[in-house]
Each structure stands twice: as structure tokens, then as C-alpha cells.
């Protein structure tokens, strides 16, 4: 990865206070280093592969519909980052855990098993969309699936997620909140306000920094004094983990270590998922801040889907079967696209609904 060289620099911080037994900031990273990859059988890996493929094809189609003018405004694609959402999601308990993310949210919703049709219909602004066409690409929610958005203000999901974790603890329901944000959002002040409270109150939350290396067009090294984002919890006594976000099985394994720690009531964990977005920040991206070679190198050598595919073949899956799966996924996405194009726009009467819940 592009970051590898930078990371080999010796750690700047001296060793932490050895007398403080509770100060185990590196214990999770050590556990992670010992056992990096989840041992998936063929069926498990196939499931993860299928989810990643669905996200990839869905996002490609979304990009295409945007090009046709069917999707408006901002549209942030998740292509390249699929292993992060899929790997983490696969380790969660869908009956009690909650998830919240920023505006690059399509992939997370698909990983959560939401119907591609209602997501695509939201992107095209139709009544059948998950937010009745009133939210758009950046503002999608499914309280039923404990997916709390879909937030358009960079970093806002971090205190909101901390609030969701507060609610888990308050209700003693055993749930954990996973709050995703990017390397760009990691420089927002409210993120550190949240770290402080989450750690102070031992809230059940995993902060996941999806480091796709660029905050819009600004490389992390140009915007961040500390680019080893997993270390940024240190000042708040939050243990960090440095994870290869291009390997779905590494993500899965790391997620299990983090979840285990949080479920035991130890407070938050900060995970840095090193990943890469192949496409622009949003659809209109000048693509001038990085070289095409850099992007091609990531696609060719580190693609999470290709990697899983090679492993699947190694586990005895046939190319034939994978081709068939790809075709099924494409058909599902085409169906979602057709649905999103052909379903009606919201009724004009929806303009004034849902502003307030009650009437006064």
C-alpha cells in the first residue's frame, strides 16, 4: 500500500506507563498482529464476496445513472472500499448492534442487507426510496435495521454514534455501536469531544476510521499531523488497531477482537481501516490530485474483490460458478436500476409531511 513506507518509521511516542495495568492501548493491536485473518470456509467467503460484488456493481450502476442525469446533486461512491463495510458488518449482531456513517453510505446499507431497489430509488429521488425521496444519496436511514444514517455533515455521525452507544449502555441491551468516518472527518473537533466522552463513560462503541487516503482531494499527509489514525485515541485512553481494509478476512478478524473487547464493558476501540477509493470524492472530481498510476496500482494489486476471488478458487470454487454469481448480481442491480427509473417521484403533497411528527 502507498502508506507502507511511511508507516515503517519508528514510533515517536515513548513506551507508555508500565505501572498502569489498565493502560492497554496496544493490547488489541498485539492481539490483531498475532492473528490477522479470519479463517473462513468456502461458503462464508462466498457470502462476503457476493456482498462486496453487489456493492461494486451497484456503485458502478449508480455512477452510470448519475451520468445519465437520473441521480442529482452529490453522489459518493464506495468502489474500492467494499471490504471495510462487508468485513465489519459480518461480525456484528444484527439483532442489537447499531451502525452509523457519513455520506458515503450506499455500501454500508447494502452490507446491512437492505434492498438495493429502495436504495437506488432514493438516489433517483423517487417515492419508493428508503427516505421517500426526501433524503437523497447522503441521507438514508433504516431504524428497523438499526442503521442510523447517512449523515451529510462531515464528522457529525461520531457524536451521534456516541449517543447511540450511550443508549445501548443506558438500556443495558448489550448492543455495540459502530461509527464509521473518514480520514477527513478525523480532523473534526467533535470527533475528539466524542472520544473523550466515550472513553470517560466506557461506552460500547467502535470508532472506525476508513482511511481512503484522501479528504476530498487533500492527501492525509497534507492535512493530518498524525496519519497513523489508530493512535489518535491514545490521549483519551482508547486502544487502537491498524487494519488492512483491502482484505475482507483481515477486517473480519480485527472486528471480532474489537467487538469482544467492547462487549466486555471496556469502553471504546478505535480502528483504522486502510483502504482506497478508486473513484473521485464525488461524481464531479477533477482527478488531478493523484496519479492514474497510483489508482491503477491499487486496483491491480490490492483489489479486495479480486483477492477474495482468487482465494475462493483456491478453496475449490469454480470460475464457472463465480461467473454465474456475477451475472446474478448484475441482474439484481439492473432490476434495482429499472425500478429506480420507473417508479414515480414523490407526490407533491409530501412537501409538507414529516417536518414535525406531532401537530400543535
Amino acid at each position: 500500500m502507498a502508506k507502507a513506507a511511511r508507516k515503517s518509521a519508528p514510533p515517536a511516542a515513548p513506551d507508555l506507563d508500565e505501572d498502569d495495568e489498565n493502560f492497554a492501548l496496544r493490547s488489541l493491536q498485539q492481539a490483531h498482529a498475532k492473528n490477522r485473518r479470519y479463517k473462513a470456509d468456502k461458503d462464508e467467503l462466498l457470502k462476503l464476496y457476493e456482498q462486496m460484488l453487489l456493492i461494486r456493481r451497484f456503485e458502478e450502476k449508480a455512477g452510470q445513472l448519475y451520468g445519465l442525469g437520473l441521480i442529482g446533486g452529490f453522489c459518493h461512491l464506495y468502489i474500492g472500499q467494499e471490504a471495510v463495510a462487508v468485513g465489519l458488518q459480518s461480525a456484528l449482531d444484527n439483532d442489537k448492534d447499531s451502525v452509523i456513517t457519513g455520506y458515503r453510505d450506499h455500501g454500508h446499507m447494502l452490507a446491512y442487507g437492505l434492498d438495493p431497489k429502495v436504495i437506488m430509488a432514493e438516489l433517483t429521488g423517487r417515492a419508493a426510496g428508503i427516505s421517500k425521496g426526501k433524503g437523497g444519496s447522503m441521507h438514508m436511514f433504516s431504524v428497523e435495521h438499526r442503521f442510523y444514517g447517512g449523515h451529510g455533515i462531515v464528522g457529525a455521525q461520531v457524536p451521534l454514534g456516541t449517543g447511540l452507544a450511550f443508549a445501548h449502555k443506558y438500556r443495558k441491551d448489550g448492543g455495540v455501536c459502530v461509527a464509521y468516518f473518514g480520514d477527513g472527518a478525523a480532523n473534526q473537533g467533535q470527533v475528539y469531544e466524542s472520544f473523550n466522552m466515550a472513553s470517560l463513560w466506557k461506552l460500547p462503541i467502535i470508532f472506525v476510521i476508513e482511511d481512503n487516503q484522501y479528504a476530498m482531494g487533500t492527501a492525509s499527509r497534507r492535512s493530518s499531523a498524525e496519519t497513523h489514525f489508530h493512535r489518535r485515541g491514545t490521549a483519551f485512553r482508547i486502544p487502537g488497531m491498524d487494519v488492512d481494509g483491502m482484505d475482507v478476512l483481515e477486517v473480519r478478524q480485527a472486528a471480532e477482537i474489537a467487538l469482544d473487547f467492547v462487549r466486555q464493558g471496556n469502553g471504546p476501540v478505535l480502528m483504522e481501516l486502510n483502504t482506497y477509493r478508486y473513484r473521485g470524492h464525488s461524481m464531479s472530481d477533477p482527478a488531478k490530485y493523484r496519479s492514474r498510476e497510483e489508482v491503477q496500482e491499487m486496483r491491480e494489486k490490492h483489489d479486495p474483490i479480486e483477492r477474495a476471488k482468487i482465494e475462493l478458487i483456491g478453496l475449490g470454487e469454480s470460475e464457472e460458478a463465480l461467473k454465474k454469481l456475477d451475472k446474478q448480481v448484475r441482474a439484481l442491480v439492473s432490476e434495482a436500476a429499472d425500478f429506480s427509473e420507473n417508479s414515480p417521484e414523490p407526490d407533491l403533497s409530501e412537501l409538507y409531511t414529516d417536518v414535525l411528527v406531532e401537530r400543535y
Binding site: 442525469g69 473521485g280 464531479s284 409538507y352 401537530r359
Partner: protein, 466 residues
């Protein structure tokens, strides 16, 4: 069957662009995700990726072509036979016009009604009349400060519903910076009465998130001046979520604390934020004056499914008022109250301005002018009916507001009178507001900057042509 590649739009407003460069040539095999071409407009450049796989059959538009219209076929991909059909299927249905959003709107105009019909009807029905509670004869009245009334409201609601918790700076062990939360920690414990770090942006977001997750937070700001740090979560997270989610995700939360000028604390600690919040659809904004409204409205606010900004006033906290000793005393949100009846002129006010207006009304009475004083109580939704009814009766109206005049609640009331009460007006509507300056510290300057009864009396006489 060949797949047509069409000139994409980089944004919904783009109509044409330059096909700057082809990165593939005829005969190349492409897979989805491969970059095919670079497209440029005056605003941006975009890489055009393949979505389908196959062989580039023909490049129709050569590189370097300027002003290529969106939707123009620029190349053809030969599909892999069997795969081509399923992929190409949706494409031919799109005609050139179909890719233009404007054209589509016309096509979509006849709306499908069945799903939303019920809600339209529900929405057009008038809100149920919700009145102040009847106070039966013989009900004991007891004197209570506003501070105590607010505390009692929170305590009573917390006893009723264990999802309610109170969070803020110094609300627990210190017993409240202004002692509004006095005693709550003792009764409800540290899990429900929570001291926060000094981190308004953060804990407002935590509160909003907890509300989205099913709890009922009451977030105290030591003063609303500090809520400016948190206004993003009040507006972008709390107020807009229900709408953005199509009614799926609610945020029932109360943000409360003292608002407006206190005494001799200077410009940064002395501002009335009522107009700021009252500007925002999706919020309920309440600013009570006396103890019974403070209690009854805070209880209603805590029970509301909507996010509520509850604006108190530090100078009023210690004032005592008579309060009916009733179990579960709820005051309806969105209803103004006539606090003094009169036939000659209407004085509309809220919060501490009501006290000033009542003082002015007493002095006007001595001069033979009977003023009707209306306490708006709720600033959003505003009780237009109460304002217009009183105007129809007195034909003269002024507003007394402890806050700046520009884009104020007073401005809004004037607009309502102009739009819907014009024929009832016998004089221009006047506003009596604070002076349009940051609040000064010096005692004489501070006094000069804030509204007082003198100015209200003067304005009332002016509209009465006296």
C-alpha cells in the same frame, strides 16, 4: 447486441462537454471499472468508466471533440453474447430526452396517489384544539419560582418515563449552574443526571444520537450562548432528520437553558437566540415567561416526539408566580395566552418581555389606555390566530421583544399583521426591541440598550395617536 456508451453528465446541469481523451482503442477488451475516456467541462474533469464488459466495437466520437452533447452515443461495446442481452436491456428504453431531468419531470407529473392519500387528508385536517388545562374551582394555588417549576417539570416527567435523562455541564453534583436541576441527582442517580465535560458540540450530538436510539434526552446548556458551538447538531442532526428520513427516524429531544441578556455579563453572554431557532423548520421553539407556563410547557416539550428548543431566562428564574396545585399540569405547545385583556392596543411579547409589557400596561391603564398583553409562549409554530384575533379587537399592535430588531420575532409578527391583518390595522405596527448593538458592559450603557416599560408605553401611545 452492442451496448451504446453515451456521453455522461458530470452534474445535473451539464449539457455538453469535451471528450478529451480515449484511453482505449477499437478492439480492446474492457472490464467493468476500466477507465475508458476523460471528459472535461469548464468546471471539472471526469474519468469515464466501463460498467459492462466486452470489446470496444467502434469509437463514434473521436478524442478532442468539443461540445459533445450529453446523451450522444460516443462508442459501442460488443457484449459477450449471452451477457450482452441482459445488460443492454434497460439501455434502449432511454431516449435522448429521458436523460434530461427537466423532460422527465413532465413525464412524471401525474402523481400516483394511492399510497399517500391518507396522509394528505390527515395533514389538511385542522389540529385538534388543545387548550390550557381547566383549573377547577377550589384548586389550591401555590407560589413557586420559575427555577423550581422547571425542576419540578423534569422530576415529574422523569418519574413517569425512565427513558428521560438530563445531561449538561454542572447539572448533577454542582446541582445546576443556575440551580435548575437541584435535587435531581439525589432522586434519579448518576445514570440519569449526567455531568458532561465542557463540550457543547459533542454532548449535543450525543444527546441527538441517544434520541435517535430511542431515549428522551433533556440537554441543558449553561446558557444558550454556548449552544452556538452546538447549533450544527440542533439544526442539521435534530431538526432535519425526521424529514430527511421520510418520517422514519425521530429525534425527540429537549435543548434547554437560559437565553437572552442576563445582567452585566457583556456581549458574548447576552443574546436572544429565539429568532435563530424559530427560523428552522423541524424545530419546536418555546420561550415561557411565568412559572406555570414554564412547568406546563416543559412537561409538554419532554413528551413531544419532536426536537424542542426551550428558551429560559436567567433574570426570571428567581421570580415567584402562583401555580395551580394540579397533578400532571400540561400546557399545550403552539398556543399563545392573553395575560391581560384590553381593548385599545395589543402588546405582543414573550419571555422576559412579558413582564416589561405587563408593567407598561399597568402604566397605560393609569392614562386610560387598556392594553391587551399576549404572551406568545411558543415561537415555532407561532400562534397566528391569537395575534390576528387580538388585532381585530384592538386594531393597534406593538411587539415588545428583548432581542435585536433585525430579522426578529417582532419582524415575523409584523409580517403576519401585514399579510393577514391589514384591514384591521388603524396604525402601523411598531416594534420595541433592544438597541441594534452588541450588549455593552457599563451599567448605564447596558440599561440604554435593553427594552424597558418606558419605551413600550411610548410606542403604545404612538399607535393610539396619543
Amino acid at each position: 447486441m452492442a451496448i451504446e456508451l453515451k456521453m455522461p453528465a458530470l452534474s445535473p446541469t451539464m449539457e455538453e462537454g469535451k471528450l478529451a481523451r480515449w484511453l482505449v482503442k477499437e478492439g480492446d477488451e474492457v472490464a467493468s471499472g476500466d477507465i475508458l475516456a476523460e471528459i472535461e467541462t469548464d468546471k471539472a474533469t471526469m474519468e469515464f468508466e466501463a460498467v459492462d464488459e466486452g470489446k470496444i466495437g467502434k469509437i463514434v466520437v473521436p478524442e478532442g471533440s468539443e461540445a459533445v452533447k450529453v446523451g450522444t452515443v460516443i462508442a459501442l461495446i460488443e457484449g459477450e453474447g449471452d451477457e450482452g442481452d441482459s445488460q443492454a436491456a434497460p439501455e434502449p428504453e432511454k431516449d435522448e430526452a429521458g436523460s434530461k431531468p427537466e423532460a422527465k419531470e413532465e413525464k412524471q407529473q401525474p402523481p400516483a396517489k394511492e399510497a399517500s392519500e391518507a396522509e394528505i387528508v390527515k395533514d389538511e385536517a385542522p389540529a385538534p384544539p388543545r387548550m390550557d388545562p381547566e383549573i377547577p374551582d377550589g384548586t389550591d394555588m401555590k407560589a413557586l419560582t420559575v427555577r423550581e417549576a422547571l425542576r419540578d417539570a423534569m422530576a415529574e416527567e422523569m418519574r413517569r418515563d425512565d427513558r428521560i435523562f438530563v445531561m449538561g455541564e454542572e447539572v448533577a453534583e454542582y446541582q445546576g449552574a443556575y440551580k435548575v436541576t437541584q435535587g435531581l441527582l439525589d432522586e434519579f442517580g448518576p445514570e440519569r443526571v449526567i455531568d458532561t465535560p465542557i463540550t457543547e458540540y459533542g454532548f449535543s450530538g450525543v444527546g441527538a444520537g441517544a434520541a435517535m436510539g430511542g431515549l428522551r434526552p433533556v440537554i441543558e446548556f449553561m446558557t444558550f450562548n454556548f449552544a452556538m458551538q452546538a447549533i450544527d447538531h440542533i439544526i442539521n442532526s435534530a431538526a432535519k432528520t425526521n424529514y430527511m428520513s421520510g418520517g422514519q427516524m425521530r429525534c425527540p429531544i429537549v435543548f434547554r437553558g437560559p437565553n437572552g441578556a442576563a445582567s452585566r455579563v457583556g456581549a458574548q453572554h447576552s443574546q436572544n437566540y429565539a429568532p435563530w431557532y424559530a427560523n428552522v423548520p423541524g424545530l419546536v421553539v418555546i420561550a415561557p415567561y411565568d412559572a406555570s407556563d414554564a412547568k406546563g410547557l416543559l412537561k409538554s416539550a419532554i413528551r413531544s416526539e419532536d426536537p424542542v428548543v426551550f428558551l429560559e431566562n436567567e433574570l426570571v428564574y428567581g421570580r415567584s408566580f402562583e401555580l395551580p396545585d394540579l397533578e400532571d399540569f400540561l400546557v399545550p405547545i403552539g398556543k399563545a395566552r392573553i395575560v391581560r385583556e384590553g381593548a385599545d392596543v395589543t402588546i405582543v411579547s414573550y419571555s422576559i418581555g412579558v413582564g416589561v409589557s405587563l408593567e407598561a400596561a399597568a402604566r397605560l391603564a393609569e392614562e386610560g389606555i387598556e392594553a391587551e398583553v399576549i404572551d406568545l409562549r411558543t415561537l415555532r409554530p407561532l400562534d397566528r390566530g391569537a395575534i390576528l384575533e387580538s388585532l381585530a379587537k384592538t386594531n393597534r399592535l406593538i411587539i415588545a421583544e428583548e432581542g435585536w430588531p433585525t430579522c426578529s420575532i417582532a419582524s415575523e409578527v409584523i409580517a403576519i399583521c401585514m399579510e393577514d391583518g391589514f384591514d384591521d390595522l388603524d396604525a402601523p405596527v411598531l416594534r420595541v426591541c433592544d438597541e441594534d448593538v452588541p450588549l455593552p458592559y457599563a451599567a448605564n450603557l447596558e440599561k440604554a440598550a435593553l427594552i424597558d416599560a418606558d419605551r413600550v408605553v411610548e410606542a403604545a401611545k404612538k399607535v393610539c395617536y396619543r
